[in-house]
């Protein structure tokens, strides 16, 4: 039970990532989801649209996180890719071959559930070996593979353990090993870490990434936790209300959210139309290399075509009026700063002090400082009602279309 603290995944297993054995299957184009619509019927007969005209590509070897609030349809999309939900419209292909009508067990995809769904009547080894049995691997081959996989997930020697004796973290490790065993062409992970406590979740996120990269596994990782998504993915697809809002690499997503909705979901707190922003903020932004703020005041005449990638607007050059998005870290304390605000509250968080400040002309923004500065008695935490002066950090402020 104590062994949530097990060994990190070993990368040794990965020797198998050579091209000929790569699960990605070499030069294929991978997964293509096109204009997919999935209706979900509740027990009471009501029909809801869980996925609405969504398109997404995943290239072999890539890990894509599907990020969105609960109820946004991301799990349904995952189940549709796995073949567990029928499509109402659209298509899903792998290497150009249509998957519609291909039953779940013939897709060669893996799926890992939030709560593992280990087979209760099989021991750990029996669970990991299940997919290999189905694939017709002989007993000796299964035993070797099970041992390697359990080693990969830090559970050496667990073959004979009953699954009911495992802790939550161990179960998920077994579930991951079980999903990886048949070398799926694509591994679908449905909030695999959400049921775990935070510290374990953070560590396992890194280890899952290591295991996926090491085995060269193509994967879609569904989560509602953006920290998890940033830790695991090569690219992040943000989903909300049955639609895809943005697909981008983590850094790009964080600094150039395609819309206010995406920015809100990522944790940006205050949104100020550029036209209404206090001068101290606008001047700083104007000096930024992209000159995003200014160009948004004078619509670009260059007539650059919209981004071909799923018609998402280029976040660096919003076509219409722009909004500045500020979040934790966007403003720094500076007695010579150009902005001022009133403290709402403040508190310690793991090595930092977070102070929520109602900034004049902006709104409430969290100011983050290392807590070491507060060790001396002289610098007590700011109290509610205190006035602070702040300096914007242009690199930590995003410009989003209004």
């Amino acid at each position: 039970m104590s062994d949530d603290a097990g060994q990190p995944f070993r990368v040794r297993f990965l020797g198998s990532g050579t091209p000929e054995t790569s699960p990605g299957g070499g030069g294929g184009s991978g997964l293509a989801v096109r204009d997919v619509v999935v209706h979900y019927r509740d027990d009471d007969g009501t029909v809801a649209t869980a996925v609405d005209g969504l398109s997404l590509d995943v290239t072999p070897g890539e890990v894509v996180a599907l990020l969105g609030p609960s109820g946004s349809g991301k799990s349904t999309l995952l189940r549709a890719v796995a073949g567990l939900e029928p499509l109402s419209a659209g298509s899903i292909t792998w290497d150009g071959a249509d998957l519609v009508g291909v039953p779940v067990h013939r897709r060669g995809f893996g799926l890992m559930f939030q709560d593992g769904q280990l087979f209760p009547h099989r021991d750990v080894g029996g669970n990991v070996a299940f997919g290999l049995e189905m694939g017709g691997i002989d007993r000796a081959g299964r035993r070797t593979a099970v041992r390697e996989l359990l080693e990969l997930v830090g559970l050496e020697g667990f073959e004979r353990r009953e699954v009911s004796t495992l802790s939550g973290g161990e179960r998920q490790r077994v579930a991951l090993a079980r999903s990886l065993a048949p070398r799926p062409r694509l591994l679908l992970l449905d909030e695999p870490l959400s049921a775990l406590d935070r510290a374990l979740r953070e560590r396992l996120a890194g280890e899952v990434r290591a295991a996926l990269v090491a085995t060269g596994t193509t994967a879609i990782f569904v989560t509602h936790d953006h920290d998890e998504a940033f830790a695991v993915a090569d690219r992040i697809a943000v989903m909300d209300r049955a639609r895809l809002l943005q697909v981008a690499e983590p850094v790009e997503l964080w600094h150039r959210p395609a819309s206010r909705r995406v920015a809100e979901f990522l944790g940006y707190e205050a949104f100020v139309p550029v036209d209404d922003a206090p001068p101290g903020l606008v001047d700083v932004m104007a000096g930024r290399s992209g000159e995003a703020a200014r160009s948004s005041r004078r619509p670009s005449a260059s007539g650059a075509p919209p981004s071909p990638a799923h018609d998402l607007p280029d976040p660096a050059r919003p076509p219409g009026p722009a909004v500045l998005a500020l979040g934790p870290g966007s403003l720094l304390r500076d007695d010579a700063g150009t902005l001022a605000g009133t403290v709402v509250s403040s508190g310690f968080r793991r090595g930092v002090v977070e102070t929520v400040v109602d900034v004049d002309g902006v709104g409430e923004v969290t100011v983050v400082e290392p807590s070491g500065a507060f060790l001396s008695v002289a610098s007590a935490l700011p109290g509610p009602g205190d006035r602070l002066r702040l300096r914007p950090d242009p690199a930590a402020i995003a410009v989003v279309p209004a």
Partner: protein
Amino acid sequence: MQSAAVGGKRGARSAALRARRRTLRRGWGRGRGRWVGRGVVWGLAAGVPLVFLGVFFAYPVVSLVARGFVTDGGLDLSAFAEVFGRDRTWRVIGLTLAQATVGTAIAVVLGVPGAYLLYRTSFRGRGLVRAFVVVPFVLPTVVVGVAFRSVLAPHGPLGFLGWDGTFAAIVAALVFFNYAVVVRTVGGFWAHLDPRAEQAARALGAPPLRAFLAVTLPALTPAIASAAAIVFLFCATAFGVVLVLGGLRYGTVETEIWVQTTQMLDLRSAAVLSVVQLVVVAGVLAAAGRARTRRERALALGAPERVTAPRLALGGPDRRVGDRSAAAVTGVVVVGLLGMPLGTVLVRSLRTGSGWGFGNYANLATTGGPNTLNVTVWAAALTSLRTAVDATVIAVVIGGLVALVVSRRPRARNARRAVSLLDAVFMLPLGVSAVTVGFGFLISMHRPLGLDLDLRGSTVLIPIAQAVVATPLVVRTVLPVLRAIDSRLHEAAAVLGAGPARVLAHVDWPVAARSLGLAVGLAFAVSLGEFGATSFLARPDRPTLPVVIFRLIGRPGADNLGMAFAACVLLGAMTAAVMALAERLRSGAAGEF
């Protein structure tokens, strides 16, 4: 060297997987054919039981009922007016409902404390008490009737009550019989109930009784309602117990059907009464079904974590009033209501005309007094066992198929409706008069029709009739276990490459197999004790044990009665042994009985 060997194995595994994928790709084009194939398989799985039920249940019952209403080839419903015009009919209906209502109420009131004691606390010997409590439920009805008569007879231990041959005696026997149903159904549910809701109520200041009434009891309601509906059904259709205890003064619709068909030869009245019973049964089944749905939903919401039962606290600083009352009530029930009749039968079986001894058991090898039996009791016991084996095989195969089909949750709405219809249809034999089934067999399976009792082939018909009676119990035992399997477990297996057949073999089968053990035991016990239908179908030269017992107690002579007691002990011991065996195979998941 070593790593090369490992690499070689790994290469072989990859090659095998690649080969599999190639075959998979080839398979992709055949989608439509596979769907059709699947439809055929499920159609067969549902069709075989349906044909069985149609031929061996619906057809006999309908032909019997039709006999009452078809005169000279035309429909004639005058029998209704005629039968309902009699006071006797109304008295029987009133008595049936009164017996069932009172019996159910008492069984629930006594059973809930028992459920608490046996499933929510732990104490030494709990397993033993749990096993003992079940014995009456699986005891043959004839044995239960004989047991109560021996207790309440003028010279019996409770003879001073003057209950012999009264309404009270019948109700007491019905409670005896059905107590276990309440304890097991409610207890099984209670054991999985999250105790934290009640703890929250206590922490908010509610005293124990208030917390129980306000939080726990409402949570238990679906289970109690489900148990009550089943008990009501069993009470309303009780046959052997009522026939033995009530004589001709007290009867149910079920015994009245028997009287009308066998004694008065009035098929029209029997047909009307069968319809009445069918209506009552359908109504109760509908109520039970609703309660069951709620229970399954409530269970689905519950935490799957195992709830540990605290130790029973009768004394000391931690004593709980609830524990004490539950222990007192259950103690009285177990010793007085359950123990005394069973003990009396055992004691009486050892009393012979010449004092104590095993004379009655020795007589089991004889055919009793003059003109009593055609075969020895041992021979009848052998016939019972053989019949029970056949009946069990049929019931488990048919019931297993039904449970499998009904446990599916198809996506299409029509398919879902069909599934729940199948579920309801297979509950019908639980409540329809076994007498109707047995008598229906006689007139539909053997031509020429009429009361020319041609018993040719009845060695086949008896196990079939018993299987019809036992199948609903098999369904209700296996189905909750199959339904409790998380559908994502199926999905996990499918994603790992298991086709539908292999999902069944590797996920459903290992889980359901353990509940199948209990289903086998139940079917066997039901078949061993079945009397209503068997009494019609048993050939005089090949009676079953319950038929022999009934004949023995119907004949004068202390020796015959002593033999009947010994035969009751034999039948009870056989049933208990089967159930004990089945109980060992029982899984943690609770079925309904």
